[in-house]
């Protein structure tokens, strides 16, 4: 009975497919053909695939070769091809050709011509901005490169701003990005492999590494992971990052995301692997350790003491960001004896007329700060964030005068909020801001005891984390041979080794680094 029903329904589906001409199966059938000897068949097929003439920017030009009068058709998508190249190096020479026996790939004056015999490849070529030429009585089509995707030119880095050092940032065009990196590493062993990662959109990722430096196993592992993604489309690196990271629910990022080509190049030279992609004005650097999020390139560009001073400031800022609000809550509600007498009396005096408990007061202001920060980010003006923060402070002042918030809370929250900006990496920045709330919660519940236990648990977690097999806090713990660039950096001539946790094939960066 059921079998019969199934058969019936199955038949019905099949019937439907035949009736409806433009099915998925039908479309892929069209693509699976090989190039026909009849030019008309080919033209029909491509026109059908691209829905010409409904599809406005897909162009076809039909004419005869000047010499032997052979029929020719050129297909390309005008919005992503350089039309000038098509005209000058294909249409013009073909029309002006006088030799009777000339073959097409000899006539074309482009940098390369590839002969293809499958419609599928034809389509891929057209989609990537190339032009494809069909000729009558030939089972081959000819494709030549003339892609010209529109995009920004190389601009200044906006999120990772440096005072000293290169100002270039990566752009949405992967070719430009590759060029920016190759400009910094002029070496034949810099390999840019391309891996196609999605089924439908055929997104292509460039995997960059330096042969003889990067660990082969690591390269193989990452390539494998990229090839085994089973998705229809991955638009850009920000999305790819979430597909390939190991712990998707972890607060801490495990892949470094940078928009600076100089940063990418220096990581490449240490033996890391870089992923580049079209439509992504940035590079993914992997594996990444906690320190790579904590650092900025400027600390190496600045001289030894200046760079380490900046690092020192940042460490302090990080602790202030996480702990001030929590410590304020813990100390004022559980451990009042820790506060110096004057401050204690000042806090008690200022709290006399305030309605809410300290925990709630801090939470209120922290939430207000985050709200204003988020809103300021969406203000369509580069001044937005600044205005937002100033607004927050003014708002706080008004709140104090209205006796809703005690003035010390404003100081505490403003301090912890503002110092969070010293962490320039966006992922770590978010992580710290969320962790701050966890600490506030634990301090509100258990005081310093709660904070210390949360901190201990947090450290356990950090130590257990791994990014593509590399411990998160390496090379500090576990200890690896490296150039010791963790909280502080060494004098540049003493940074002799590549990080050992990457297991680079060539460990030594320089013999002594000094002037020979």
């Amino acid at each position: 009975m059921f079998k019969l029903l199934k058969k019936l329904t199955g038949r019905k589906q099949k019937l439907n497919r035949i009736n409806l001409k433009d099915t998925l199966e039908d479309q892929s059938n069209q693509k699976d053909q090989s190039v026909s000897r009849q030019i008309d068949v080919n033209i029909e097929r491509i026109k059908k695939i691209y829905q010409i003439p409904d599809n406005k920017d897909v162009k076809v030009r039909e004419f005869r070769i000047g010499g032997n009068g052979k029929r020719i058709a050129i297909f390309f998508i005008s919005s992503i091809t350089d039309v000038r190249t098509v005209e000058d190096s294909a249409i013009k020479p073909l029309l002006q050709e006088t030799d009777m026996d000339a073959e097409i790939d000899k006539i074309l004056s482009t940098q390369n011509v590839t002969a293809i015999s499958e419609i599928k490849e034809v389509v891929t070529n057209i989609n990537t901005g190339n032009a494809v030429i069909f000729a009558d009585y030939e089972t081959k089509a000819y494709a030549f490169e003339c892609a010209n995707f529109q995009g920004r030119s190389v601009e200044r880095a906006e999120n990772e701003v440096l005072v000293k050092g290169s100002k270039e940032a990566l752009t949405e065009k992967v070719i430009v990005n590759l060029s920016l990196i190759r400009k910094r590493i002029k070496n034949e062993s810099l390999i840019a492999e391309s891996v196609t990662i999605s089924e439908r959109s055929r997104n292509e990722v460039f995997m960059l590494y330096i042969r003889n430096v990067a660990d082969d196993k690591l390269v193989g592992n990452i390539k494998n992971r990229l090839q085994n993604l089973d998705v229809d489309a991955i638009q850009n690196l920000s999305l790819l990052e979430q597909y390939i990271e190991e712990r998707r629910l972890s607060l801490f990022p495990s892949i470094l995301y940078s928009e600076r080509p100089d940063r990418a190049a220096s990581f490449l030279e240490d033996g890391h692997i870089i992923l580049l992609m079209d439509n992504s004005p940035d590079a993914l650097i992997l594996p990444a350790t906690f320190w790579s999020f904590f650092h900025t390139p400027e600390e190496h560009y600045l001289r030894f003491f200046f760079g380490n001073f900046v690092r020192f400031i940042r460490v302090i800022a990080m602790f202030i960001t996480i702990f001030t609000s929590a410590i304020y809550i813990a100390v004022t509600s559980f451990h009042a004896e820790m506060i110096p007498a004057d401050l204690l009396l000042a806090i008690a005096g200022s709290r006399e007329k305030v309605p809410f408990p300290i925990f709630f007061e801090i939470l209120l202001m922290e939430a207000a700060f985050e709200l204003i920060r988020e809103a300021g980010l969406r203000v369509p003006n580069p001044m937005g964030p600044t205005i937002g923060i100033v607004g927050a402070l003014i708002l706080g002042q008004a709140a104090v005068e209205a006796n809703i918030i005690s003035p010390i809370v404003i100081i505490v929250v403003a301090l912890s909020g503002l110092t969070s900006f010293t962490i320039s990496d966006i992922s770590l920045n978010y992580a710290l801001r969320i962790i701050r709330f966890l600490f506030i919660l634990s301090a509100g519940l258990f005081g310093i005891v709660g904070m210390t236990s949360l901190f201990a648990v947090g450290i356990f977690y950090l130590v257990s984390l791994k990014s593509f097999g590399v411990p998160y806090l390496a090379p500090m713990t576990p200890n690896y041979l490296s150039s010791g660039d963790t909280i502080f950096r060494r004098v540049i001539t003493h940074e002799k080794f590549r990080p050992g946790y990457l297991k680079p094939t060539d460990m030594k960066k320089k013999s002594n680094g000094a002037v020979r």
């Binding site: 509600s333 559980f334 007498a341 000042a346 005096g349 305030v354 300290i358 005068e401 519940l445 258990f446």
Partner: protein
């Protein structure tokens, strides 16, 4: 499956919140802070009159706290069995919870300190969790209640500041001893020394003009201070033996004890000595103790002997006789010998008082004595406290001259006056 797991974790976390319960949590605005506790004798046995000195947090704290016309502190006196239970008793008159977090001084009236019972009440401080051991013990001549009432420091609005600075500076210049509570407990339990506590009063006899040769050679109350700085004086020390007050020491005597005591550094002693060159004048000197004193003992001798060598550096700051001692080696030597003689005689006087009057020593020499015995038992059998009054004590002052003022040489009086 995963959802269930997350739900479970959330549930556990929620339970944790219940468990936490915030037992210890106290809002700062729900507490009042006691700066000083006063203990007075109560008529009933087993009771004590406790006086609280409570700071008003709104005075002098910030501009937004606007209660400037309120007084900066208040006092409350009640009879209680101890000052722990007093915390709740006082709530009949005070709205908020009473906190000892800022407690910085315990004052005891002389009358109560001389009681045998006194030590029973003070030991409560060892039990209470909030009372820190670095709180100072101060003995007042009058009842503490009256002391609090009359003490009205100028410029220092907040009471904790007054007590903190007053005691800190007094200890620094050596006119009152460093009478932290844990010293009291240590000395009392060690049972071989005298404990010195700071002595203070606001009861200044107005008719008595009791000037001494040396201005600090008096106890609080005996020094005439004119003007309207403050009614309270902190000077000299109350002497405790086995947790009971048995007498007083003047400021100078306290200084001498502190110079001889190794544990208490005295940094800034300004005092005067008789000018050996002209009888009418005195020389102002600053005494510095840069090295520890060397204590040598011969306890097998009968009577046992103690030799103390006290190295001091002395700066002579004035020269009213205009004798220019710095110019002349002989004069310097004479200064040295005169000073040493004067200091030694003063020191020996203090030693004599301790041996004859108090019958115990405040100098902390018993610690040095312990080294002389092989076992603790031998030391105990020796009975330091009993033996001390009969001991032969010798103190050698070893003076070194530092500076003779910023400009060592002064013109001679005759040269100016001719």
């Amino acid at each position: 499956m995963k959802l269930k797991k997350i739900c479970n974790i959330c549930l556990v976390l929620l339970l944790l919140v219940n468990l936490a319960g915030c037992w210890d949590q106290k809002g700062l605005d729900r507490q009042v802070f006691v700066i000083g506790i006063g203990l007075d004798k109560a008529e009933e046995k087993g009771k004590v009159n406790v006086t609280y000195l409570i700071a008003n947090p709104e005075v002098g704290s910030s501009q937004t706290a606007s209660a400037t016309d309120e007084p900066s502190f208040m006092t409350i006196t009640m009879r209680a069995s101890d000052f722990v239970s007093m915390r709740n008793n006082a709530n009949v008159a005070i709205a908020r919870e009473i906190s000892y977090d800022l407690l910085s001084v315990i004052l005891v009236s002389e009358e109560f300190a001389r009681e045998k019972e006194f030590v029973r009440f003070l030991y409560t401080a060892e039990k209470d969790r909030e009372i820190k051991r670095d709180i100072h013990l101060v003995v007042t001549k009058e009842k503490v209640k009256e002391f609090f009432g009359r003490n009205n420091p100028k410029f220092l609005k907040r009471p904790h500041k007054f007590y903190e600075f007053m005691i800190e500076r007094g200890v620094e210049i050596g006119i009152i001893p460093d009478s932290e509570l844990h010293h009291f407990f240590r000395v009392t339990e060690e049972d071989s020394n005298l404990f010195l506590s700071a002595f203070a009063t606001t009861k200044i006899p107005s008719n008595k003009d009791n000037y001494r040769i040396n201005e600090s050679d008096a106890v609080a109350g005996d020094l005439k201070v004119k003007g309207d700085a403050n009614n309270a004086q902190f000077l000299g020390s109350a002497v405790f033996l086995e947790g009971e007050m048995i007498g007083t020491m003047t400021g100078v005597e306290t200084r001498i004890v502190m110079l001889l005591h190794d544990a208490i550094p005295v940094r800034d002693v300004l005092t005067t000595f008789q000018d050996p060159f002209s009888e009418d004048y005195q020389l102002a000197v600053r005494i510095n103790q840069q090295k520890k004193s060397v204590v040598k003992m011969d306890l097998k001798a009968k009577p046992p002997r103690i030799n103390v060598k006290l190295p001091l550096t002395i700066d002579v700051l004035t020269d009213p006789g205009m004798e220019n001692p710095v110019e002349n080696k002989k004069k310097v030597e004479r200064l040295r010998s005169e000073f040493e003689k004067e200091m030694e005689s003063k020191i020996m006087e203090v030693v004599r008082i301790s041996q004859e009057e108090f019958k115990a020593e405040p100098f902390g020499w018993s610690l040095h004595a312990r080294k002389e015995f092989k076992t603790l038992k031998e030391y105990m059998n020796f009975d330091w406290m009993k033996t001390y009054p009969d001991m032969k004590v010798k103190v050698d002052v070893d003076l070194r001259f530092g500076k003779f003022g910023r400009q060592p040489k002064t013109p001679s009086y005759k040269g100016i006056r001719d």
